[in-house]
């Protein structure tokens, strides 16, 4: 059986995360809801997949399912597999930094838990802090940093853990427009240097198009993947530059139509 599986892996690139007809029911009894209904989506190595959809469509539930963070009363059906040995990195909307640790201490936490030696993890952390442009602040505490800087630290921390797949839950949503674009640019730049595998969820359509290799459009609750759109822009991408191109505008309008139709209750009932 294992032989067959291995052969299958060789012939086609293996999905790191794969959901097939995956459904989740959540909540305590009177308010129990179907959060996800039949999600089918796979994330391949080296691609950025963006799930975009209206608030409350179950995007976060999908990420939590992958991370194993669902509450005990959650009922799952269908298939959700994370390839064995795949390390998951998780970057939430709120930075979730340890307030009692410096920037350096926060970035080191992943390697520290994996038992990486002191000198090595320090070196790794220093490198990543430089990558996100915060070298000057490596000994600062989180409360001394701005929201944008904190989210950069969060990104560095996630990268330092050395994940095979990075799950991002609206990572830039809490930032002001300037910082949001700056961080999108940052993510693209890092992705150019070291190919990342990312599943990012957002309700910001332009963010989805700018960052995604593929954009999965979600339906309103209960969430389902309506369609997946490949996004092909010449590399290296630039978040600011792309937004002015015809291709961007064309795709934006197309997906916007899809989303609007989907979230319009009169059309949905039909």
């Amino acid at each position: 059986m294992t032989v067959v599986a291995e052969r299958a892996n060789e012939s086609a690139p293996a999905a790191l995360i794969e959901a097939k007809d995956f459904s989740v029911t959540l909540g305590a009894e009177p308010n129990r809801v179907v959060a996800l209904k039949g999600v089918t989506l796979s994330i391949m190595a080296g691609e950025i997949v963006v799930m975009v959809g209206p608030s409350g469509c179950g995007k976060t539930t999908f990420l939590n399912s992958i991370c194993g963070l669902l509450p005990e009363n959650a009922e799952l059906s269908g298939l959700l597999t994370v390839a064995s040995g795949v390390r998951l990195g998780y970057m939430p909307q709120k930075d979730a930094l340890l307030p009692w640790r410096t920037v350096l201490g926060n970035v080191e936490v992943g390697p520290e838990m994996r038992g990486v030696g002191k000198a090595e993890r320090r070196e790794r952390a220093e490198g990543l802090i430089e990558l996100v442009g915060l070298s000057k602040f490596r000994n600062s505490y989180p409360h001394e940093l701005s929201g944008g800087m904190r989210q950069r630290v969060s990104l560095a921390r996630t990268l330092a853990y050395g994940p095979d797949v990075i799950l991002m839950d609206e990572p830039f949503a809490a930032l002001d427009a300037f910082n949001r674009t700056a961080l999108q640019e940052e993510l693209l730049r890092i992705n150019d240097k070291t190919r990342l595998t990312v599943l990012l969820i957002t309700h910001d359509l332009s963010e989805a198009i700018v960052l995604g290799d593929r954009v999965a459009v979600m339906t309103n609750s209960p969430g389902r993947v309506l369609d997946i759109y490949p996004v092909e822009f010449p590399e290296p991408r630039s978040a600011t530059h792309l937004r002015g191109t015809d291709e961007f505008l064309h795709l934006f309008q197309k997906l916007w139509q899809v989303l609007m139709t989907e979230s319009d209750p009169t059309k949905r009932a039909a």
Binding site: G89, Y90, P92, L97, L98, R101, V109, M113, Y141, H143
Partner: protein
């Protein structure tokens, strides 16, 4: 106000109060006397009594005894309180079953238990340590328990996803985040431990500031009552400011709060 100014005004207020007291007791200006020093003593009488008490070695011994009892109760109370708080906060069944018992035990008036502790453990140090412990334990327990309950779920999840073992989760997240709660309890605990030790000494003891207080009261030696009270106050201020200095050092990662 600048730090220097604050200290200046504090000292000024203290001097004025002492002078008024001295005046009221009739020890400042001959012929001016508002109250009998038998009831209110006076700063100069207290100083004289302190000098006497220190020179015959008695008060020093009493301070040592009381501080020792308070510290022992504090140390044992901190350790057991933190342990129980962590256990309650992290193990749901224990929390559900044990909560009312803790509330009931904590509500017991300590002066009412004091004679019992002497009955159990004798008039030596142990009964006072137990009483000091009984105050410190609950304070630390409730703070630790609350600290565990209010840990940021997002932080826990972010660390859990990185495949943290339970012991790593406790070391990296739980412990540091309840630390500030434990320290908040620590500062108050210092004075509670003193109170516990002194209440214990009231009931049955052969030494200690509480013992001094109760015997001096019995003999109507008001000067000694006041000088013992002054010592209690001085010790409390010294210990709590040490606790605060320690807290500021250990919790330097916190955004500055002015309390």
């Amino acid at each position: 106000m600048s730090r220097r100014k604050v200290i200046f005004y504090r000292i000024l207020v203290l001097i004025i109060l002492l002078l008024l007291w001295q005046l009221a007791a009739g020890d400042l200006i001959a012929g001016v006397k508002l109250l009998d020093p038998f009831f209110i003593s006076s700063p100069s009488r207290i100083v004289a009594d302190l000098v006497k008490g220190v020179s015959d070695g008695l008060l020093i011994r009493d301070v040592g005894v009381t501080v020792f009892e308070a510290f022992a109760g504090l140390a044992i109370g901190m350790v057991t309180g933190v342990a129980a708080g962590l256990a309650f906060g992290m193990w749901k069944p224990l929390e559900q079953v044990g909560e009312p018992f803790m509330a009931a035990l904590n509500a017991l008036p300590r002066p009412a238990i004091a004679p019992l502790t002497v009955l159990w453990l004798g008039i030596g140090l142990a009964s006072k340590i137990l009483l000091a412990w009984s105050l410190v334990f609950f304070l630390v327990f409730y703070n630790t328990y609350l600290g565990v309950k209010t840990i940021d779920r997002d932080i826990v999840n972010a660390i859990k996803v990185m495949q943290a073992r339970p012991d790593q989760l406790i070391r990296i997240v739980v412990f540091p985040s309840v630390f500030s709660w434990i320290f908040a309890a620590f500062r108050v605990s210092v004075s509670y431990a003193l109170i516990g030790a002194i209440i214990g000494e009231f009931v049955g003891a052969t030494a200690g500031l509480g013992y001094q207080l109760i015997t001096a009261e019995g003999l109507l030696k008001t000067d000694r009552v006041y000088s013992a009270l002054v010592l209690v106050g001085v010790i409390a201020v010294l210990l709590t400011s040490m606790a605060k200095a320690l807290e500021n050092r250990v919790l330097k990662w916190r955004p500055p709060v002015s309390v």
